[in-house]
Each structure stands twice: as C-alpha cells, then as structure tokens.
Amino acid sequence: MQETIIKFAPLLLEGCMDTLYMTVLSTFFAYLFGLPMGIALFITKQGGIAENKPFNAIFGWVINILRSIPFIILMIALFPVTRLIVGTIIGKNAAVVALSVAAAPFVARMAEQSLEEIDSGVIEAARCMGATNFQIIVKVLLVESIPSIIRGLSITTITLIGYGAMAGALGAGGLGDIGIRYGYNRFQPNVMYLTVVLLIVIVCLIQWGFGLLARKVDKRNTKVKSFGVNFIGGAKGVARIYKK
C-alpha cells in the first residue's frame, strides 16, 4: 500500500485539485442560477410577495423535470451545449457545465426550503414599513436565511463531489476519473481505495467547515454556549454530583 501511495501521490494530488476545481466552479454557477430560481419559486407561490400561480406551477414543473433526469443521462444530453460553451466534451471544464446544470434546480429547491423557514410575520412587518419587493428579497429574505443557505451549501457541495466522481466515467478528470481508470480498467484496487479515502476526507472537511460557519453566523441561538463552555460546564456538573 505504501508503495502505491508514494507512486501515485502526484497523480492523486492532481486528482484532488481537479475535483476541488470542478466542485467549486460548479457550485458557484449552480448558485448563480439556482438561488434566483429558488427566490422566484418562493415569492411567486400562493401568499408570496409576488404571487403568480401559473408561473409558479410551470416553473415548479420545469425544476422537477430537470431534477428527475439521472445525472449521467443529463451529462450526455448536454454534450452539444457543452461543446458550444467550452469547445470540448471531455475534461474538467466540460464537466463543470453538466454539473452546474444538474445542480441549479437542486439549489433552487434548497433555497426555496431555506426561505420557507423564515417567519412570514417578518416579511409582513417589512411590507408594513414600506419595503419594496426588491428590498424584501435583499434585506429580509437573503439576510434571514443565511445560516440555512450555508447548510444547504454544504449539502450541494457534497452532492456535486459525488456527481463529479460519476462524471469521471465520462472523462471528466478528478478523483472519480482516477478511481475508475486505475481501479476498474487496470485492476489496481489500491488506487481506487485511496481515491475513496480522499473523497471521504474532503466530504468530512466540507461538512465540518460549513457546519461551523453556519453556527457562527446564526444569531438565533446565541444563548447556546460553545462546545468548550458546554463541556466544561458539564464536567463541573458531574463533579458536583460526585461530591455529594
């Protein structure tokens, strides 16, 4: 195993960088398009600030349909579009196109969900204060849902890492590509295991990092003490019980 690690370290490192490259870029584009889509869904629903039932119904259907296409099929179906945008259908840039298109409707639903969590009374209060719809979106919806959107961001990123690995089967590059090429095509399972371990580490780091960030920016339960304080407090409590 050690030999494998040493021999393949440069390749695996490059794979990591490619995976991160694809994930970061596609997450960015997915939010660039998905977030406004989610806001549009939220504000046009019944009772929303820009209620529009037909639009909401049709748009909702479009998003559902896009979301139900299996990723690999979507990627193949997008080949002509991908070629138009990046000039090729293989490599990491090509994968970014497919990943972004696949994730945008997913992001839209997640953003919609995050916005649903906001107390409708707060939106109403803003309306009473004379806020325009645009001001409500920018100053109320986006601000109040930030912690929830960050949590969604971690789910999206991790999902995109998984999709990115799948895209490896179609020549996207990254850790998935390495795993398939060496593990499956060349019967070197050790390389495949290594790519899986690396993917696990990346996923855990993302989950942990975004979780921490979400908790840090959320002002709703600032009374809740940090883990350290809780831990010390808990230990003190236990000590007190034992003294009796």
């Binding site: 004379g130 806020a131 920016v217 002002k219 709703r220 600032t222 009374k223």
Partner: protein, 248 residues
Amino acid sequence: MIQIEKLTKVFNSGEAGEVVALKDIDLHINRGDIFGIIGMSGAGKSTLLRCLSMLETPTSGTVLLDGEDTATLKGRKLIEARRNMGVVFQGYNLLMQKTVAQNVAFPLSLSKTPKAEIAARTEELLQLVGLADKKDNYPSQLSGGQKQRVAIARALATNPLVLLCDEPTSALDSLTTKAVLQLLQDINHKLNVTIIIITHEMSVVKSICNRVAVIDESRIVECGQTETVFENPASDITKLLLGYEVNE
C-alpha cells in the same frame, strides 16, 4: 383621522367556502386617541387591523386615512402611507439575524436616509424605550418584553402618525404587560402618536384606552368612551369580557 366606513372583508378559502371576517364595520378614530378594539378570538380583530395597515384590501367599504381611500394607493404613495403607520405585532416579528440597533434602523435603511441620521435616530429611539444598553444584542438574547420594546422603537422610526398594535402584550406576563402599556401611553403623550390597540383583555383597555370598540362575530357591537362602556355595557359580549354573569 381614520374613518372606517361599511368595511366588509370576505375570505374565499377553498373548501371551507366563504368566511366573513368583517361585516359593515363603521369606526372613527380621532387624532391623539388610544383606541382599543376588543373581542374574543376569531372575532375579526386582526383582519380589521390588517385592513388598516393595508396588508389586506377590503372586499367592500372604505378605510379613509386623512380623507384618502387607502385601497386606491399605489407605488410611491402606498409606501409613503405605510411609513406614516407603525405596526406592532403580537409575535414581535423582529429580524433575528440583525442586532437591536439594526432592527430599529431597518425602516430608515429602506429610504435613502443618511447614515449619521439613522444612527442618531436609532440611539434616540432606544433611549425612549429604555434599551440603549442592548443595542448590539440580538433579539434571541432578549426577553419578550424587551423584544416588544424593540418592535415599538422600530415602528416609531419613520415618525408615524398612527401606531397599530395587534395584541402587543398577549405573549407577555402581567408585570411586563404593564410596563409595555405604560410605554405606549408615554409615546401617545410625548410624541402625540395616535394608537390603535387590539386585545382580548379588558385590563389592557381599562389601563390605557380613552375609547373602545367591542367586536363580536365580525361586527362592532359597541363603541364609545372607555368609562361609559365599562359603566354601562350594552351588549352581552361586553359584559362577558368584563366578567359579568350573563344569563343565556
């Protein structure tokens, strides 16, 4: 200052059919009043207030604000009218991700108010409601009474002529209720803001309202000076709310 004439509101709620929430409401509220609107749960109080705050449009009838029909207001004029009206809610409805000061400054940040002016006004309002030392706290760190004070300060930010309060003390204990009512009374005296306060508790009306209307099953059943209504309740529902025994 506010004239409500033949106001009717009917909700079309799908399977449940039509719900008549307000029926032929006539009310006149004068400048400087602390006007109480009292009734049991489901009587239509919140709907009435939502019609006043232009969150709902009346099915028929009119709400005149200084002679102007609020239903016809649009765009700039609607925003202006809303800024002349502060609203305080039972559930506070504060922005949870913003500090106390940012919440109070919020209505001002919606118009192009200079930063220095916003800061000065926020400071002044927090002083008024007695929360100057909490300006950098978040709503989640405040008690119910403190949250409602922030909400009141926020509602006053744009110097409104009227303050509409929907059960502002219903979520608070009796001591905190007293303090919040005292604050509303001070505001009425000091700033000459007309206050309309909705409640289901007679004690609230008794302690600060000069006039009161009793609403029951979507209609106004009684209206007048608080003392008159308290001394000579004309309707059974008023007697009930006052704690009299009512023979069926």
